[in-house]
Amino acid sequence: MILQGKVWKFGDDVDTDQIIPARYLNSSDPKELAKYAMEDARAGFAEVVGQGDIIVAGKNFGCGSSREHAPICIKAAGITGVIAPSFARIFYRNSINIGLPIFESKEAAEAIEEGHEVRVDATSGVIEDLTTGKNFQAVPFPDFMQELIAAGGLMNYIKKNKMDK
């Protein structure tokens, strides 16, 4: 799978309260949640973000709450992938489970600037900054997670492997 889009840049330790503030968690509808994506990190983000755009952030992206609404709203807002030097544990897990592609690369996260055009090969983890021509390699996923991703997320995997017995 190839992702290509414009980059929006965020800092270190962006927590899930900034990604989707709790005041909007009285809904679990992705479309509704998408309206408030990243609101407390950057007001009005949902209005400017385009389909296919990519987030590049600092370390420990998605720290804090376990709310799956965080990767869900980012995905529903049109973001196709997130690149960061590191992800908080539950966010990492949730993203794989729901099928939001995430990529760990310190070099890419540091070098890529806001507004750059970026292309990512989700299978190989190769990240290309088309604006500067630089290439980066994301940390590969362990085999089991590749399997989850290939199955289209955890629920599809469970359905295939655990429920039809």
Partner: protein, 422 residues
């Protein structure tokens, strides 16, 4: 090679003799938990794949505690969905209003979780139960859905950091100060993906409520779980409540740790975490003059009886400053009743505070004390992220019940010394 307590519990639940950090395992679960925010998403997933039954109706806990008593129509609808699911699947541990308490207070109190368990919860502070010598970790809703169907979850076995708390605890310094201090030291991602194992003579003497507070905040350092080996204090707490057989694990002498960190507690004073990260900690003597508008005493971190007693000890015979709104939230109906019978409510009300029914409420800016732009709160909760308790332009300072109560009296951030030395 020896194993840590976390590795032993995971190995036992994966049916293996041994596990190593980094290993991916599939573990059987003793309890799967969700709340009114995370369960609806899980229930949708559960139904979307066409699951018909849960793996074990006695091992699932549904606790609508965040926006309850329902603050608006949408919240009411979310809880309704959870309630209907609970009834349909005859979920034993569904907590209706009246029985409902803040999830991480009520599960241990009701003896649903105990030593040796492996627990997942669609709530990041599920790590609280590590205080009982269990492996407990927060996950998302999809993991919860999968857990409800299969009774299993996949884990990467975490590396462990061993914290050794030595020395003598200073007066009015408790579990909250110790964990804030540790987070201040290692940072909000200092234990990312790792187990935080709390040990040492100070922990051996630490009351169970303080242990819950410490394990509760493991996630604030990025930890996968916080854990304290079960000992006599633990057994005294679980005796008569925990209905299953406790299994006691201890780390081997030669277990391997990613890091060992020692703290001399004689040097730790009451701590305050400044906005907007729990790692921005300072000792109370370095806080300076910070005027506040609101104080919240409660939450899964510090909403237990001993927390309320500490707050009452300072508020007794005192008044909260005229410009302060002081909100006290007992964590469960039982704590509420005990506090009431002990006369703590009189102390709070005489001081000009209010007492709320158990709820997460203001902790996540839900209701019952949301902050306006420019307002500041001292809270005994666990997060001070931007907008956590309301407006993105508000500020939250995290502290212990002692500091929170003293701050309410002084109208600015204050420690026990300032109140007692009058």
């Amino acid at each position: 090679m020896g194993m840590t307590i976390t590795e032993k519990i995971l190995a036992a639940h994966a049916g293996l003799d041994e596990v190593k950090p980094g290993q991916l395992i599939n573990a059987k679960l003793d309890i799967v938990l969700g709340n009114d925010i995370t369960s609806p998403v899980a229930i949708n997933e559960f139904e979307k794949v066409g699951a018909e039954t849960v793996f074990d109706k006695c091992k699932i806990c549904l606790v609508p505690d965040h926006f309850t008593p329902n603050k608006d129509i949408k919240s009411a609808e979310q809880v309704k969905q959870v309630r209907e699911f609970a009834h349909k699947h005859e979920i034993e541990h569904f907590f209706e209003l009246g029985q409902m308490g803040v999830e991480h207070c009520i599960l241990p109190e009701q003896g649903i979780v105990g030593p040796g368990d492996a627990i997942i919860g669609a709530d990041s502070h599920t790590c609280t139960y590590g205080a009982l010598g269990a492996f407990a970790t927060g996950v998302g809703s999809t993991d919860m859905a999968a857990g409800m169907i299969t009774g299993e979850a996949w884990f990467k076995v975490p590396e462990s950091i061993k914290f050794v708390f030595k020395g003598e605890l200073q007066p009015h310094v408790g579990g909250k100060d110790l964990i804030l201090y540790a987070i201040g030291d290692i940072g909000v991602d200092g234990a990312r993906y790792m187990a935080m194992e709390f040990t040492g003579p100070v922990i051996d003497n630490l009351p169970i409520d303080d242990r819950f507070t410490m394990c509760n905040m493991a996630i604030e350092a990025g930890g996968k779980n916080g854990i304290i080996a079960a000992d006599e204090t633990t057994m005294e707490y679980v005796r008569g409540r925990f209905k299953r057989e406790p299994v006691i694990y201890k780390s081997d002498e030669d277990a391997e740790y990613a890091r060992v960190i020692e703290y001399d507690c004689s040097k730790i004073e009451p701590q305050v975490a400044f906005p907007h990260l729990p790692e921005n900690t300072r000792g109370i003597s370095e806080v300076g003059d910070v005027r506040i508008d609101q104080v919240v005493i409660g939450s899964c971190t510090n909403g237990r009886l001993s927390d309320l007693r500490i707050a009452a000890e300072f508020l007794k015979g005192q008044k909260v400053a005229p410009h302060i709104r002081c909100i006290v939230i007992p964590g469960t109906p039982l704590i509420y009743r005990q506090a009431m019978h002990e006369g703590l409510f009189d102390i709070f009300l005489d001081a000009g505070a209010i007492v709320s029914t158990p709820t997460c409420g203001p902790c996540l800016g839900g209701h019952m004390g949301v902050l306006a732009k420019g307002e500041r709160a001292v809270a005994t909760t666990n997060r001070n992220f931007i907008g956590r308790m309301g407006s993105p332009g508000s500020e939250v300072y995290l502290a212990s019940p002692a500091v929170a109560a003293c701050s309410a009296i002084k109208g600015k951030i204050a420690g026990p010394k300032e109140v007692l030395s009058k």
